[in-house]
């Protein structure tokens, strides 16, 4: 089942056919040309633009510091937080070790309760399944609960090309959709917009909005309520993601705040849920861990306002037709990597984004994928194959704040280093960096050569002109280093020279 990588622009194959990169075990990664896992330019380039946007940096700084303080307070209330965290980590690891068996059990339980389970190898196949299901109902519009999986596969675009309008109903997703923008955060997709910008979007795009609308968050939320109310009441089909699925009981769970999730999960006749295959937990009891970890890590609340759970259909209560679409789209390729598979443990809380010094300054769009921040930097390159997101494993200072904040203790820094090594090993041509290190390695293994090199390097003092660091405007390839880092000026005297001078060459 090996395939050759396909370049962007090549003829797409049939849905489900492996066509992007493959892992060494031949497992296909997420296909190109569909969905939102790849940016159109490398991270450093996009980040440089974002850093120049003062408004963006102010919005992000304000929002991330607010949420960090809230999270710290409610996590501090829980005396057994670390035990919960370790239980969450182990639960996810044990789930992955038996993923096939749990999925088969989930399928059996959902079917036994009147639901229909569909399997999708990739984004194209999932989009085709959902489009077909919506068309079968005769509806030309759907209401959507915020879902990372459907963002990942570009479902809205696929529906649109089939003439079906998708209404995002989460407030932040609505802001992004109305503003013709892209989400920049897992939990709060419109985190890059402040209240004044949101007011402007509403005034410009919401039909019949009160022209006196102020930028008070409460007034803005009420405008969204009014805008969506009628859409909820007339909707015949809803599309959701899932935060958890319990294999032994067939229970699905959606965790939310606004009640838009409840509207979508309760009122329409047909519900279609798209879920990554890694969202499983084996037993009902396992939710006792994740329902404690997720809200506190995510919105910084003890519990989110609404959690909905259902299995199959309930006569007389809620949708009478239920479809569950199980999505691979590169997840099995991630699973094949013994170090990288830990990224599949993510419960999408976004705590790692909020504590990341890189995310806080560059924002989510720079990452080019729907999964930004530290978790995105390890997840996106694995889902697409590292060469399609080669700059992301470097979008980190490896400070480790993400690891500390992660409620399931994903060792993100170690996976980043692992992916960097994978990227370097995949290079066919010698990079200037590799050449430099090869020379350095030769110099350092020969004392005479090393001393000569050091003496040569001291000539750099002329360039530094007495300053402690070298000028930033060095010619290439040195500029690749000095553009974003300080290069210390070489010392007047090396350690060995000093030793020889003071001790006269005696060891």
């Amino acid at each position: 089942m090996t395939t050759t990588p396909v370049r962007p622009g090549e003829t797409p194959l049939a849905p489900g056919a492996p066509r992007s990169g493959t892992t060494f075990l031949g497992l296909p990664t997420a296909p190109r040309g569909v969905g939102h896992l790849r940016g159109d330019r490398p991270f450093p380039e996009a980040a440089r633009d974002a850093l120049r946007d003062g408004q963006l940096r102010a919005n992000l700084g304000h929002a991330t510091s607010t949420i960090r303080a809230k999270r710290a307070k409610v996590v501090g209330e829980v005396p057994d937080w670390e035990q919960l965290r370790q239980a969450g980590k182990a639960l996810k690891a044990s789930t992955m070790a038996r993923l096939d068996e749990h999925l088969v059990e989930l399928e059996r339980q959902v079917a036994a309760r009147g639901g229909t389970v569909h399997w999708a190898r990739d984004a194209d196949e999932a989009n085709a399944i959902v489009t077909r299901l919506v068309q079968a109902t005769g509806a030309d519009e759907v209401v959507k609960v915020k879902s990372m999986a459907t963002q990942e596969i570009g479902l809205n675009e696929a529906l649109e090309s089939a003439g079906i309008t998708a209404h995002e109903t989460d407030l932040a997703e609505l802001i992004v959709q109305l503003g013709d923008d892209a989400p920049s955060h897992i939990l709060v997709p419109a985190i890059h917009k402040n209240r004044a910008e949101i007011r402007e979007i509403f005034l410009r795009t919401m039909p019949g909005v009160d022209p006196e609308l102020t930028d008070e968050p409460r007034r803005l939320a009420m405008a969204a309520r009014k805008h969506l109310r009628e859409r909820f009441l007339r909707a015949r089909v809803a599309i959701s993601g899932a935060n958890f699925a319990v294999a032994e009981t067939g229970t699905l769970a959606v965790v939310e705040s606004e009640g838009n999730g409840r509207m979508c999960l309760t009122l329409p006749q047909t519900l279609i849920t798209v879920m990554g295959i890694e969202k499983l937990v084996p037993t009902w009891r396992d939710l006792e861990v994740f329902l404690q970890l997720l809200p506190r890590s995510s919105t910084g609340e003890r519990m989110n306002p609404y959690t909905s759970m259902w299995s199959g259909v309930t006569p007389g209560d809620g949708p009478q037709e239920f479809h569950l679409v199980l999505l691979d789209n590169g997840r099995t390729a991630v699973l094949a990597d013994e170090v990288g598979r830990e990224a599949l443990h993510c419960i999408r809380c976004s705590a790692c984004l909020n504590v990341c010094p890189v995310y806080e300054r560059t924002g989510g769009h720079s990452y080019g994928s729907v999964y930004p921040g530290p978790i995105g930097a390890v997840l996106s390159p694995q889902l697409t194959g590292v060469e399609d997101n080669a700059s992301l494993p470097y979008a980190s200072s490896l400070c480790g704040a993400c690891y500390d904040a992660c409620p399931v203790a994903i060792d993100i820094p170690s996976i980043l280093v692992h992916l960097r090594a994978e990227h370097v090993e995949a290079q066919q041509r010698t990079t200037p960096e590799a050449a430099a290190f090869r020379l350095l390695s030769r110099a350092m293994s020969n004392p005479r050569l090393w001393h000569l090199t050091q003496r040569a390097a001291s000539l750099g003092r002329f360039l530094a002109r007495g300053k402690p660091t070298m000028p930033a405007a060095l010619p290439p390839p040195a500029s690749a280093w000095t553009r974003s880092r300080d290069l210390p000026a070489p010392p007047r005297e090396t350690f060995v020279q000093q030793w020889t001078r003071e001790r006269g060459g005696r060891s």
Partner: protein, 207 residues
């Protein structure tokens, strides 16, 4: 090969022959050891912290307290017929003249001003009420569409923590966990109460 067989096959390939055997440590708190009275105080504190109102009363005063709760939520002078009641709510809890849910189409419930239900379980530590779709909780749309929700909680239904609540629930029931009125943090990550779900939540704690 079907997509199902293909995906399952990929998982087996990815995991290989030697699958890790992971032991899950469950040394987190299974129970909350606060005395019962203190547990109720924690519940009230957490509910109020998330902008729910709480009224406490004895077992004989439920209907009158529910009426007071509706005063809080709707303002004095509310119409009893505009309050929809879950079918399993005891007669002794209902103010006179309220309407029992008659199974009308779900969207028509939006015409009611308020809802009265019981709950299946309440969790003190998180300030959470769990509705299970049974006669006492009502179907899900009942507690969703009217703008004011009044829930009656009996002390025997209150547990300390999340791990104590789940064994009391039916995993196959349509469950809704409610912690405060509907809210959003989507604008500058500041919490605003009241979006699509009921904007007002009043809890009557009995006993």
């Amino acid at each position: 090969m079907s997509a199902r067989e293909d995906v399952l096959g990929r998982i087996r390939t990815a995991l290989g022959e030697r699958r890790p055997d992971v032991v899950v440590p469950r040394d987190y708190r299974a129970t909350d050891d606060r005395p019962a009275a203190q547990r109720l105080d924690v519940l009230v504190d957490r509910l109020e912290d998330y902008k729910a109102s709480v009224l406490r009363c004895g077992p004989d005063e439920v209907a009158a307290t529910v009426a007071a709760a509706l005063d809080t939520g709707l303002g004095a002078g509310w119409q009893p017929a505009s309050v929809v009641v879950a079918p399993g709510v005891p007669a002794g809890w209902r103010p006179e003249g309220t309407s029992e849910d008659d199974g009308r189409p779900a969207v028509d419930l939006a015409a009611f001003a308020a809802t009265l239900t019981g709950v299946a379980v309440a969790i003190a530590e998180t300030g959470t009420l769990v509705l299970d779709g049974g006669p006492l909780s009502g179907r899900r749309a009942v507690s969703l569409l009217p703008d004011c929700l009044v829930c009656v909680v009996e002390t025997g239904q209150v547990v300390g923590s999340v791990p104590e609540a789940l064994p009391r629930l039916d995993p196959n029931a349509p469950l809704t966990m409610v912690s405060g009125p509907s809210a959003t943090s989507d604008i500058e990550l500041q919490r605003v109460e009241g979006v699509h779900g009921p904007r007002t939540l009043v809890v009557v704690l009995v006993g």
